[in-house]
């Protein structure tokens, strides 16, 4: 059975255009053992202009993943360690007085880069978080009276530690919602850990990361992703999943009504569709199937569902709620 001609042609182009990701993945695997899912999510976010919130305990190579990714993708990388005494100017930049010319000129902050690692974003006060999240949303920064557009591609990967909350500033729901995905970085497997240990426990210098991607590759991939076919059935499936987080009783889950305080916003539907398209792109497919949706639904919805009091009392996590929704919403 043949695909429609346009899709056939799109499929061929996708296979060609996605080769750079295979090269990047190969390069990343030289430095990073395991964490394949996290790397894939980073690719997905980059392909559809999204941002990622990485959550995991310290020492799981979150920073290494991001820095290696930026180097392999030939993108400018900036790591910003968020601290309680940080100011928005430390992030976006400030006006500096030049005594020779007797005038102020803007000094751009670390946010002017392609890949930003906002390390421990919840350690800074709300005003700094807001400054970064505004830059994420608007993709431009105003210093003094001048507005500067941020470089493209622009991607923020923020990290936060799930176990240490003392002296932190919890990200408000409205700000968390701006992250396309919240990816949980888990411990490596036994074999992976063995390999990590053998590779890292040496005094030899690390293998330098080669830039294997041209900046044009990313933009070409984005153009193709926009053309990926989405059947109305899949469109409805995506909306069903998101709406089910708001009115679970309508989908045969009345027990979830008290478990969910707030469901996902319409931004979730948008990001779920975009991420599904990027996932299909990674699978070299010119169309989306429910598999693509299911593959990234946990990362796209988990930070957009606020569990209610009963759910917290019964230790029910957003992932459990999403699992139940997936079991009840009919797959097309």
């Amino acid at each position: 059975m043949q695909l429609a001609v346009e899709l056939e042609e799109l499929g061929t182009r996708i296979i060609e255009a996605s080769k750079f990701l295979e090269h990047a993945e190969e390069e990343l695997s030289q430095r990073i053992i395991g964490q394949r899912d996290v790397i894939r999510r980073v690719f997905i976010a980059m392909l559809v202009n999204g941002h990622i919130l990485l959550e995991g305990v310290p020492g799981l190579a979150k920073t290494l993943i991001v820095s290696t990714f930026a180097a392999a993708m030939n993108l400018k990388f900036q790591r910003i360690q968020f601290t309680p005494d940080m100011l928005p100017a430390d992030l976006v930049g400030t006006m500096i007085y030049n005594p020779k010319e007797m005038e102020f000129y803007p000094r751009k902050g670390p946010v002017f880069a392609n890949v930003i690692l906002a390390d421990e974003i919840n350690r800074s006060p709300a005003k700094v978080q807001s400054a970064l999240l505004e830059a994420m949303q608007e993709r431009q920064v105003t210093i003094g009276s001048q507005t500067f557009p941020l470089q493209e591609p622009f991607m923020v990967l923020a990290t936060q530690n799930p176990i240490e909350h003392e002296g932190t500033y919890l990200l408000p729901e409205a700000q968390v919602d701006r992250f396309m995905m919240k990816v949980i970085v888990d411990y490596p497997s036994y074999d992976e850990e063995l390999e990590i240990m053998l590779r890292s426990a040496t005094n030899a210098s690390k293998v330098p990361v080669k830039a294997v991607v041209h900046s044009g590759d990313i933009f070409q991939a984005r153009t193709l992703i926009d053309r990926i076919y989405v059947d109305p059935r899949v469109q409805r499936y995506i909306v069903d999943l998101v709406v089910a987080t708001r009115v679970p009783a309508q989908y045969g889950m009345p027990e979830l009504e008290t478990m969910i305080e707030y469901g996902a916003s319409p931004r979730a539907s948008i990001f779920l569709l975009l991420a599904s398209k990027a996932h299909a792109f990674l699978q070299h497919r010119p169309y989306i199937t429910p598999e693509d949706v299911k593959a990234i639904v946990y990362d796209t919805l988990r930070h957009r569902i606020r569990p209610g009091y009963e759910a917290e009392a019964e230790n029910i996590k957003p992932s459990d709620i999403i699992r139940q929704i997936l079991q009840h919403v009919q797959v097309p």
């Binding site: 059975m1 695909l3 899709l7 076919y229 169309y287 199937t289 079991q327």
Partner: protein, 313 residues
């Protein structure tokens, strides 16, 4: 009306024949008011100048068969003493009162005995002491009290028990019948071969295709039939799963015809999600393939637990 005649001191009782050598008799009565049936206590003191021994008896000269107002209950000689040549004797008697209203105490007889015990003299005394005997019922009550309706005797438990046991027995029988009916229905449902059901649906679908059903709709239906068959036959949740999840579950089971099943599902996915438009001939071939696959897998039925879908990532 209360009469206090002799309750507070000793009063002389008047003999029927008073004179010299006649003993002096005094009497004390308590209480002066009592209810019908209650007892009055009488203490009689006899002072005898002749030093004869005295005895007391009630009721002499009274018809013993008639209903008497006072009935002697007991009689006791308490003490005997000698003072200045005269003997003094005390008797304590109890009388039960039966008449109502103001009553005069009954006469009693004092008998004097010599040393040999012979009665030397017998004197009848009529006391002037009066007591007031109250009736037990309230005299002001004029109306009859309403009569309570007779109570029905409670039904004995032994009579009810057979009924209760009968009800429980019938209920148990009904439950048993329902349980057996359910088992029979379940067994008969299990006997229905999911393969046969799928084949019947495929035949029906083939007829619809011949009747002009659009091929893409045929694939959609084919996908549903295959998923339903896989769910019932292999006990995997195929209806809520995507093709990749079905592929993973079937791989775990290691069934025959795995490739063919996956090809059919993937073809159906192309039609459903990639806007692919197959022709009638392709649809017919797919139906034929599906029929063959179901036939070839009908004897493979895993008895494991249903395969659980894992969370991706």
């Amino acid at each position: 009306m209360l009469l206090l005649i002799c309750s507070t001191g000793w009063l002389p009782a008047s003999p029927a024949h008073a004179g010299k050598g006649v003993p002096a008799v005094t009497m004390m009565v308590t209480p002066d008011t009592l209810l019908v049936g209650d007892r009055i206590h009488c203490t009689i003191q006899i002072t005898n100048p002749d030093q004869d021994v005295a005895s007391v008896a009630w009721g002499d000269g009274v018809d013993s068969l008639s209903v008497r107002t006072f009935e002697p209950v007991s009689s006791k000689h308490i003490s005997s003493s000698l003072h200045s040549g005269q003997s003094q004797e005390k008797f304590e008697l109890e009388l039960a009162a039966f008449g109502t209203g103001q009553q005069l105490l009954p006469p009693f007889t004092v008998a004097l005995h010599d040393i040999k015990g012979n009665i030397t003299k017998k004197i009848v005394y009529k006391p002037s002491t009066m007591v007031f005997v109250r009736a037990l019922t309230d005299s002001t009550m004029r109306d009859l009290r309403p009569v309570k309706p007779p109570q029905k005797p409670p039904i004995p438990l032994l009579l009810i028990m057979p009924v209760i046991l009968g009800v429980f027995g019938v209920a148990g029988l009904v439950l048993l019948l329902l349980f057996m009916l359910k088992r029979v229905v379940r067994k008969s449902a299990e006997k229905v071969d999911s393969g046969q059901v799928a084949q019947r649906k495929l035949r029906k679908l083939g007829s619809s295709l011949s009747a002009g059903m659009p091929p893409h709709e045929c694939y959609e239906e084919l996908s549903n039939i295959m998923r339903s068959f896989l769910e019932n036959h292999y006990r995997i949740s195929a209806l809520e799963a995507v093709t990749q999840e079905i592929e993973r579950d079937l791989k775990k089971l290691g069934i025959a015809g795995f490739e063919s099943i996956m090809n059919l599902l993937k073809q159906a996915d192309l039609v459903k999600f990639a806007d692919s438009r197959p022709d009638v001939e392709e649809s017919r071939q797919s139906l034929h393939k599906a029929s063959e696959v179901i036939r070839s897998t009908r004897y493979f039925r895993p008895h494991d637990q249903p395969v659980e879908a894992d969370e991706p990532q």
